[in-house]
Amino acid sequence: MSAIVGARPALRHRLAERGVDRQLLLLLPAALFVVTLFIYPFLYGVGLSFQPTKGGTLGAYREFFTDAYLRDTILTTLRLSLPAALLNVLASVPIAYRMRGRFRGKRLLTTLLVVPITLGTVLTAQGLLNFLGPTGWFNRSLLSAGLVDAPVRLTNNYWGVFFSLVITGFPFAFLLVLSYLSGIDPSLERAAATLGAGRWQRFRRITLPLLAPGLATTFCLTFVLAFSVFPSAVLVGDPAGTTRVMSIAAYDAAYVRYDYPLASAVAVLMGLVELLVIAAVLGWRALLYTGSTAGGKG
C-alpha cells in the first residue's frame, strides 16, 4: 500500500484490479497446449497449402479446382451431409415434442439412444455391411414381405453412408433438441391453452419460435459431424466413386500421394465450406428471439 496519499498504486495492484495476477498462471499449461498442438499445426497446415511443389502459391488450390475428381468431392460431401443433418434435426422435433416432460422409461430411452453414438461410426459401418447386405436381415425381410423382387443395394453406395449418418446422428440431434425443448417453461403452453390456443397453435406460436434458435444450433453441430464423415464413407460407401467425400480426398493426398500441400489445401477448403454453411444458418438464427425461455420473474 502506498504510504503517500495521491501517488499511483503499484503496478501489481493496478493489474490485479483488472484481473491479472498470479492465479492466471494456472491457465498457462492449457493455453500453451492449445497453441502448440492446435493453433500451430493449423497455421502450419494453412501455410503448407500455399507452398505446393509446383504451380506457385495457389498451385494446390488450382489443382483442386481443375481436377474434377477432386472438385466433385465438395458436392458429394454436401449431398450426403445436408440431407442427413436436416433429416436428423427435423425428425427429432415431433418426437422430442411428444417426449418432453416426464414419463416412465424416459431415462431408459435416452440411455438406449446414447448407445449408437458411443459405439461410433466404425462399428456402425460393420453392422450395416452385415445388416443391409444383399443376404442380410433387412433385405431378407423386404423379400419375404414381398415388397421387393430382388435384394436392394444398400451397401457400398450412397445409402450405406446415409444410413450410417442417420444412425449416429439422429440420437445426437434428438438429445440436443430434447434438452432445448425441456428448457422452455411449461407454464407458457398452459397459459396459451387458457387463452384459447389449441395444440397445433400452441406449438406453432409459442414452442416453435422459442425452439428455433436451438434447432439452428443443433443443425450446425449435426451438420459438422456429418460433413466430416470418414470411416463410413470408406467402409460402407464407395470411396472411389459416389461417396468420395472431402476427408477421403485429403487422406489420399496426404498418405497415398504424400502431397502434403494438397492435403492441407483440401483440409482448409473443408473448413471453409463448413464455415459458409454454419454462417448462413447462424445468420438466420440471429434474426430470431434468443433470450430467456422462462415465463417471467416469478
Binding site: Q23, L37, F38, R102, V114, W137
Partner: protein
C-alpha cells in the same frame, strides 16, 4: 402442475412411437447381425448361421493380436484422461471464476478443437507430429487425443465450478484458511464429482475416437477401434466372422464403459455439454 402423463393414443402419437420403435429395431438389427455372425459357423444365404461356435473369438484374439491392442488402448486412455484433467481443471477454475482481459477470446480458443471435426485439424496435426518424430508411436497418439480432450474437460468443469458459490471460498478465508487449505479442504472435495464426470466422458470419447488415432498411430500403437478399421478395410484376406468377433469385443468394451459412465453422468451429458439438470 401437470403430473406424469400417460402415453396418449392419438394417431400422431402412434406415428411418433412407430418411428422410434422402427429406429430401435433397425439399430438392434445392425448390432445384432454382428453379434450373431461372430458366433456362427457358416453363414451365407440363410436367416441364421448354420451352426454356432465361439472359435472366432480365439482366432480374432490371435490374428489381430488383441491383447497388445487392448493394452495400448488402456494406456492411451489413461494417459489422456490423466493429463487432460491435470491441465484442464486449473484452467477451468480460472476461466470460471475470474474475469480478465482476453477471457472471452481464450474461451473461444478452447472451444474450437471441439467444434471442428477431427479430420480437419487432424491432418495438419499429424503432419506436424511426424515432422517432430512424435507420430507413429504412443506419444503421438496421446498428444493427438489430448487436443479435443483438454477443451472438453474445461468445458465440462466450468459449469461445475460456477455452481460452487464463491462465497464459500470467502467464508473459508474468513475462518482463517490459506490458499492451499481452501483448495485442499473446500474446493477439491466439491469438485470431485465434476472431475469424475469429466474423466469418464473423456475416457469414453478417447476409446471411441477414430480419426485422430488413425492418423497418428504406428503399427504397434493402435487402439482397438483403429485395429478394427484396418481389419475391415483389408477384409478380403481376413475371415469376415473373426472381424465380427473383434467388433463384438469392441462393442462390449464400449458398453461396459457406457454403463460405468452412466453411474456418474446422465445420458445427455455424453452428447451435449450441458450440466446435469436432474430429470
Amino acid at each position: 402442475m401437470a403430473a406424469r402423463r400417460a402415453i396418449v393414443a392419438t394417431p400422431a402419437a402412434w406415428l411418433v412411437w412407430g418411428v422410434v420403435v422402427a429406429f430401435f429395431v433397425f439399430l438392434a438389427g445392425v448390432i445384432g447381425s454382428v453379434v450373431v455372425s461372430s458366433f456362427g459357423t457358416r453363414w451365407f444365404d440363410t436367416w441364421l448361421p448354420l451352426g454356432w461356435t465361439p472359435d472366432w473369438y480365439a482366432q480374432a484374439w490371435d490374428e489381430f493380436t488383441l491383447l497388445p491392442v487392448l493394452i495400448v488402448t488402456l494406456e492411451v486412455s489413461a494417459l489422456v484422461v490423466g493429463i487432460s484433467v491435470l491441465i484442464g481443471v486449473p484452467a477451468a477454475y480460472v476461466l470460471a471464476r475470474r474475469g480478465f482481459p482476453g477471457r472471452r477470446l481464450l474461451y473461444l480458443l478452447f472451444l474450437l478443437p471441439i467444434l471442428m471435426p477431427p479430420i480437419t485439424y487432424g491432418i495438419p496435426l499429424a503432419t506436424v507430429l511426424y515432422k517432430y518424430g512424435f507420430a507413429g508411436n504412443l506419444s503421438g497418439v496421446v498428444l493427438a487425443n489430448l487436443v479435443p480432450s483438454v477443451p472438453f474437460v474445461i468445458l465440462t468443469m466450468t459449469p461445475f465450478i460456477e455452481q460452487i458459490d464463491p462465497a464459500v471460498e470467502r467464508a473459508a478465508r474468513m475462518c482463517g484458511a490459506g490458499t492451499r487449505q481452501v483448495f485442499v479442504r473446500i474446493l477439491a472435495p466439491l469438485l470431485v464429482p465434476g472431475i469424475l464426470a469429466a474423466s469418464i466422458l473423456v475416457l469414453v470419447r478417447t476409446v471411441g475416437m477414430f480419426e485422430l488415432t488413425f492418423l497418428t498411430a504406428g503399427p504397434d500403437s493402435q487402439t482397438l477401434v483403429v485395429a478394427l478399421y484396418y481389419s475391415m478395410s483389408a477384409a478380403g484376406i481376413r475371415a469376415q466372422q473373426s472381424i465380427d468377433a473383434m467388433a463384438v469385443i469392441y462393442t462390449s468394451m464400449m458398453l461396459v464403459l457406457l454403463v460405468l459412465a452412466l453411474r456418474f453422468v446422465n445420458p445427455t451429458q455424453l452428447v451435449a455439454r450441458v450440466r446435469d439438470d436432474g430429470d
